[in-house]
Symmetry: C2
Subunit: 212 residues, 2 copies
DNA sequence: TAGATTGTTAATCGATTAACAATC
DNA sequence: TAGATTGTTAATCGATTAACAATC
């Protein structure tokens, strides 16, 4: 894993999955190589930016020709964790939580949700896509036994902080947080937020401004 | 709406919902004013950044005292579109789409999803939280009749582009896109992406690096 | 060879952070 | 008044964009 010593900026990291997905389409199309201008055109970016991004991902191309699609796909899938699927636990079996449990697509992106947790007795024992809902009080025991490092929070904001504390106490090292609230964690526990209210705010504000 | 002439940077806009939510908690706590250092401490930001953000949102405070919570809440709710709920249509009644349809919480953030669409006959006619699933071919008719400007894409990436085209053709001006693919639209149609694969990529990569 | 595209170094732009005067 | 916090102007930092030589 010594090739992971390169740090990739967050803006770049967020664009890489789009490149990956475009390259897959190209490959299915029968293409074997691709150039920055091609990628840039499809994604409406500048070719300079694509070049820089691929460079910082460690991809190497050939002038005039571009990049070998298969090579870049391998590089990106390593970098994005697609080639090393990890188990995760999810807390909060509401609509969103169950949607994520039910969704099979995360596995090809390196994430395998193995079980859900909730405090609502009505939900306990239910099974979605082979994944059972357990009582939150079982979280630590199961996380330790399965040696799980990734957890997902899909609870309401009001309970997210205490759920986060349970996760930290259970040895979780990465939290994918869907609750619209800031979570405070030790340095060795990372948090990635999916804040739908923030995204919606951007949409509303921009729409308002474009109409004015 | 002339006070909307201020343009707010996207990083700032994404932090404002967190401030809003914190202020609500403070208010429920019985507080009437709040200072930047207080907000900063709770959200683990710098007080300078909070001050700048509030300033660009148009909030005015008093030295030594801080900001009047009720005033800031009003300012932010206007800016974030919370006080002016708009109708929206959703296309793609899979797990995620139904989770969003089912969720009642968006209304207090200014979004009211009134119906869903799909091409899968099995889903047509089903009703979630009073919201019916219609055939995609009815989209344009319904969007025009209800004069709807906002639409949500929760289809697989493979069909997102054609769905996007239908939306543009139907007079939609803002698209909340959950499909992990770039959508190309005219200047007067804005797109806000929620790309879970990108978010997951950041999580995986950071976890990998923190373990090394 | 000619010319398109890569790799790399420099310039620009915008967001964050710092500094400090104003003020309640 | 003293001191904490705001408002505002300046400095820094990092990401994007530009420029251009190297190369296939």
């Amino acid at each position: 894993m010594t090739d992971h010593l390169i740090t990739i900026s967050e803006p770049t990291l967020r664009r890489l999955p789009l490149y990956y997905q475009f390259l897959l389409r190209k490959k299915q199309n029968g293409d074997t190589s691709v150039s920055c201008p091609q990628i840039a055109q499809d994604l409406e970016l500048t070719s300079i930016q694509v070049r820089k991004d691929l460079q910082s991902a460690g991809a190497v191309g050939r002038p005039r020709v571009g990049y070998v699609i298969d090579e870049v796909l391998v590089t990106l899938s390593e970098l994005l964790g697609y080639s090393n699927t990890k188990d995760a636990l999810l807390v909060g079996a509401g609509n969103l939580g169950i949607a994520l449990l039910d969704y099979e697509g995360f596995e090809e992106h390196g994430l395998n949700i193995v079980a859900g947790f909730d405090v609502d007795e009505e939900k306990l024992g239910k099974v979605f896509q082979g994944k059972r809902i357990y009582d939150l009080s079982d979280f630590k025991r199961i996380a330790s036994r399965l040696n799980i490092k990734i957890a997902i929070i899909t609870t309401p904001a009001s309970s997210a902080k205490e759920v986060c504390d349970i996760m930290i106490d259970s040895g979780i090292k990465a939290i994918w947080n869907f609750a619209p609230i800031h979570l405070s964690t030790p340095d060795d526990v990372i948090v990635e937020n999916v804040n739908l209210t923030a995204s919606l705010a951007v949409l509303s504000n921009r729409l308002e401004r474009s109409i004015d």
